[in-house]
Symmetry: C2
DNA sequence: GTCTATAAATGGATAGAC
DNA sequence: GTCTATCCATTTATAGAC
């Protein structure tokens, strides 16, 4: 809306807007198709630019992926911010987000679909440990917080995999409420005090 | 060792032996590199034949994959065959097989690394439900056996993912014994009687 | 700042000789 | 039964015009 608009005749656009559009498109494409199958052409098209812009703004596909991962993992998802009722919150949130008809733009999906690429795993690991991992560990507390947090994430990731990605009949057709109960009972031992 | 040996001069070999070699190589390659990154050329080289043979014996890469999945999932792995001590057995087996220095030719790895390819997920789902899924459900028993079994597999898959594939520091460096204890406490609710 | 055109490599699958 | 040679599609990344 500024005077910039007419600085150059045709396809002139803001640099940060383009960068942002590419990044948003990248998160979506990587989440939906994984690292290998997400093409720079498709990402660019989704962002309304040409494939070339990706290298201009992010250096390479891998560079773009690194920023996309950070963007995807930064917001607080499955793991909330409240210590109270952590188990129930996680279980319910997990059951609802992995349900057959749900949204599907989740960091867990991005992680699962990109785990097969060596170039992506290092980046993903840093993203997990820096964001959702340390956040969950902080909520759990205690000296075993890190391991317990990672096991909680493991259950979440596995549930995403089998229910939302693979789509096994038993999990896809399961009732969300009952599933949340079962998930909560599995999370209980690692979220509450020690279980020696 | 038969008279077949000298029927043709040079590269004459048994058809079933070649087929078997390709299949074994395919399981290894798909497990190590995933569906997308496993090339027919590499699989062929590993089997000691040319890439062309794969199409001859299995029609296509996807056809080969289907048989490789069946081959990988058929043997009884993490889930044993004994009902007694199921929880402890699973937990210990899982902790040991996902340890940093371990073998790494597991159906769970194959599943994880191929889950990003749509052409592979249907095949993988059938493999799970037909083999390890129904086997575990049979051991658990009860009317909720299927869902409970899938949740057990979810925890196993997630542990494989975070510990062996992604390699988060907390899980990679965790003590196997303590990890087995924690895993057992998470598996307990779904392997034993109801948890309503 | 964005485009078109192309480079350079790699993928799966096929034809035809031996 | 196995090979060599090739086709055709697709990929990321780059060069240079506007």
């Amino acid at each position: 809306m500024s005077a910039e608009e007419s600085a150059t005749p045709a396809h002139r656009r803001d640099a940060v807007a383009t960068r942002e559009a590419i990044l948003a498109a990248a998160v979506a494409e990587f989440t939906e198709n994984g690292y290998a199958r997400a093409g720079v052409r498709q990402i660019a098209e989704r962002a309304g630019v040409t494939a070339m812009m990706i290298n201009r703004y992010f250096g390479s596909k891998q560079g773009l992926f690194a920023e996309a991962v950070d963007r995807s993992f930064a917001p607080a998802t499955v793991v909330g911010t409240e210590r109270r009722g952590l188990t129930q919150t996680m279980a319910r949130s997990l059951a609802e987000s992995t349900a057959p008809g749900a949204e599907r733009l989740d960091p867990f999906l991005l992680m699962l679909r990109c785990a097969s690429d060596p170039a992506a795993v290092d980046i993903v690991r840093r993203g997990i440990e820096a964001h959702v991992g340390s956040r969950l560990a902080g909520l759990i507390g205690g000296d075993e917080a890190d391991v317990r947090a990672q096991l909680g994430l493991a259950l979440a990731a596995g549930t995403w995999l089998l229910r939302a990605v693979i789509g096994t009949e038993a999990l896809a057709g399961a009732d969300d409420d009952r599933l949340a109960e079962l998930l909560a009972s599995m999370l209980e031992p690692i979220t509450s005090g020690d279980s020696r």
